[in-house]
Amino acid sequence: MSYIDPHIHMVSRTTDDYAAMAQAGCIAVTEPAFWAGFDRSSAQGFADYFDQLTRVEPKRAAGFGIQHFSWLCINPKEAEDPGFAREVIDLIPPLLDRPNVLGIGEIGLNKNSKNELLILEQQLALAADHDQLVLVHTPHLEDKLKGTRLIMDAIKRNGRLSPDRVLIDHVEEHTVGEVLSQGFWAGMTLYPQTKCTPARAADIVECYGQERLWVNSAGDWSRSDPLAVPKFQLELRRRGHGESVVQRLTFGNPQAFLSQNPKFLSTDGRDSQD
């Protein structure tokens, strides 16, 4: 069965990972801009990274029949210096027309600081100004619950972003209910230690339903699994869920959200991409 991994950091993965994902049925990925594991020393470092996301990775993915889409932003881990963050934000508007760019992301909070919140608000304004979809990163571990609430409050204060054009990612059992009840899309990230396992993600589906939910691997340079989405598909099948449920959560739902940007692939998943 074809699937979409709507959040994975392929710049940190090997070409063998692309091959394994393609063999497992992956036909499209979307890659948000994130923290590289170190702080860039200049805005030019981000300009190079944005080129990698919009020009290099699509070609690498295409070698395996996988369509590659991206999201641009400055991530919250590098948002503690507002002046620097604004230099990076200023790079983004001319890049939004590139053929694989779907929106602004992954913006959000990390430690829930005032400066992180300020830069989040500025990037929400950027998304609204340019009518972009938004992919939101919620904080890790003990910071997630508070940060998720601060983020949703900031989106509501912005007032120009419809919740159905915003996906709030990395939800777990203590945040998914509030995210869905406020009309946002919710993403479940499948990580070996620090987010959801395939079993817990399947539990969340059974408790909260299939509406406005997707799953992703968020595979990156740390402990993560680029084949997490097919493992989630297997978990659903082992529990007796039908193929329509598997298809909806791993293809239909991400396609429905992402297709709000007409650059995203159409229903057969095989449209060409420049």
Partner: protein
């Protein structure tokens, strides 16, 4: 899946996970010294496993979360510890 099917499929995995928690706490105790805020929070979270209420995963995550509401003045680091440190407030 009915109750028997869930138990048959997942019992051994849950047993192994529970033993990992028990062995971790034994290891910490053997190492001596005092618990830090993370181990204190973990010990308290284990009581939620069998308190007669449901939604244990949600309640454990809430128990380990920062209970404050507003943004902090400045990020002290980039990482997270896995449990809230009351002395960080």
């Amino acid at each position: 899946m009915d109750r028997a099917a869930v138990t048959n499929r997942d019992f051994l995995d849950a047993r192994a996970a529970l033993l990992d928690v028990a062995a971790f706490l034994d290891r910490v105790d053997r190492a001596g010294g005092e618990d830090d805020f993370r181990v204190t929070a973990l010990r308290a979270a284990t009581t939620l496993l069998n308190d007669g209420d449901t939604e244990r995963a949600r309640r454990i995550l809430e128990h380990l979360s920062d209970p404050t509401a507003g943004p902090i003045e400045r990020a002290p680091s980039k990482g997270a510890a896995g449990a809230y440190d009351p002395e960080s407030a």
